[in-house]
Structure formats: structure tokens, C-alpha cells
């Protein structure tokens, strides 16, 4: 391939199609979840600790900022899981046609946001 092939990498001008947005959010949410691993383990420890330490843990996660962080991790998990299921299905050649891929990308974005709001609303 010629080294002088035309390139158009003006990222601010490229309008990303929906499946591309789902894909990059899958990566971003994965990175966030990676950073959150020890904190998720800390939360598991909190739920498993003795009654008095459990109350202290409850007080810790009752802080609005902590709740917001938990909401972000919840969205990251839901998006990563939904998009991951979509990619697994595509790996076995399910829904690879463009209209279906677009529809499933829409579904992944929507379902993860709605589930975040519903779960967040129920547990806030």
C-alpha cells in the first residue's frame, strides 16, 4: 500500500455512526471498570462485614458523591455488559447486517441508560 494514500483523520469532523459510539463507550466503560476493581471489591467486603461495620459501610456509601460514583460504575458495568453481549453475538455471526447492527447498537445504548436510571432510582 502506498504511503501517500489519502487520509482523513480530522476526528472533530467525522460524525461517528452509532455502532462506533457504542464501541468506543465499550472501551471507555471497560477502562473505568478496570480502575474501579479495588473499589468494587471494597464494596463487596462492606456488604459481607459484621453488623456494626456494615452500618459504617452504609454511612460511607450514603454520601451523595459516593452515590454518584456508584451510579457511574453502574452505568459503565451495564453498558459494558450489554455491548459485550452484542459483540459476543456478532462473533458468532448474529446480527452483523448493517440495519440489525444499528438497531442493536441503539438497544445497547438505550437499555443500559434506562437500566441505570431504574436501578439508580430504586436504590438511591
Amino acid at each position: 500500500m502506498s504511503a501517500t494514500r489519502p487520509k482523513h483523520l480530522a476526528i472533530w469532523q467525522i460524525r461517528m455512526p452509532l455502532p462506533a459510539i457504542v464501541s468506543i463507550l465499550h472501551r471507555a466503560s471497560g477502562a473505568l471498570l478496570f480502575a474501579a476493581v479495588p473499589f468494587m471489591l471494597y464494596a463487596l467486603q462492606g456488604t459481607l462485614s459484621s453488623a456494626d461495620r456494615f452500618e459504617a459501610f452504609r454511612a460511607c456509601i450514603a454520601h451523595p458523591l459516593v452515590k454518584l460514583a456508584l451510579l457511574a460504575v453502574l452505568w459503565a458495568f451495564l453498558h459494558h455488559a450489554c455491548a459485550g453481549i452484542r459483540f459476543l453475538l456478532m462473533d458468532i455471526h448474529k446480527g452483523v447486517e448493517l440495519p440489525k447492527a444499528r438497531a442493536s447498537a441503539y438497544a445497547v445504548l438505550g437499555v443500559s441508560i434506562v437500566l441505570t436510571i431504574v436501578t439508580g432510582g430504586l436504590t438511591w
Partner: protein, 116 residues
């Protein structure tokens, strides 16, 4: 002929790709199990949750899932470094810090899952 390879490549195989998908399936199965428990116990009371994690098999499955998570995270995060960091030294540093983060998480997870 000597093939010049970067010291921190993906080992040029299908293995990591497959591991990422298999560990994803393990985690999905675990999450489905937890959701079924939460729905069956109507939100999961403190007592029911403690009771569940008193079972050794639950702890074993949890520890196995954490291992799957850490291995999965390693493949994914290494892909990110490989895509965005071009400098070999920086990439090696990023890989090393990632491994330290994951190994520390593994040690901590043993304490959380098997601790009193």
C-alpha cells in the same frame, strides 16, 4: 531470518482473543446468578446475603469470577495501551503498572472473599 518483534506485543495469537470472550461468558453467568438471587430474595436482605456468602461454593464461584474479571481486564487494558501508547518504554511502564494493579486486586479479593 530474524523477525524484529516489540518486547510487549500481544503474543500474536488467538489465545488472548478467546480468553477475553470466555472470561466474559463466565462473568455473565455469575451476574445472572446474582440477579436471580436478588430477585428471588426480593432485593437481598443483609441476612440473606451473608447466608449466601457463608457457602463455600459461592465463595469459590466468586473467586473464580474475580480471576476471570482480572484476566479479562488484563487483555482489554493491554489492548488500550497497545493502541494509544507508541513509545516502547512508556508502554512497558503502563503494562507493568497494570499488572501490579491487577495482582494487588487479586490479593485483596482473596481477603474479601475468604476473610471472616
Amino acid at each position: 531470518m530474524v523477525i524484529k518483534r516489540p518486547v510487549i506485543g500481544a503474543h500474536y495469537g488467538l489465545k488472548d482473543w478467546l480468553v477475553q470472550r470466555l472470561t466474559a461468558v463466565v462473568m455473565l453467568a455469575y451476574v445472572v446468578g446474582v440477579i436471580v438471587f436478588l430477585l428471588a430474595s426480593r432485593g437481598g436482605s443483609y441476612e440473606a446475603w451473608q447466608h449466601l456468602f457463608a457457602c463455600s461454593w459461592v465463595r469459590v464461584l466468586t473467586q473464580v469470577t474475580v480471576l476471570a474479571l482480572l484476566w479479562h481486564a488484563w487483555v482489554g487494558v493491554r489492548d488500550i495501551w497497545m493502541d494509544y501508547i507508541q513509545h516502547t518504554g512508556l508502554k512497558l511502564a503502563a503494562h507493568t503498572l497494570t499488572i501490579l494493579w491487577l495482582v494487588a486486586s487479586l490479593v485483596y479479593s482473596v481477603k474479601v472473599v475468604w476473610g471472616a
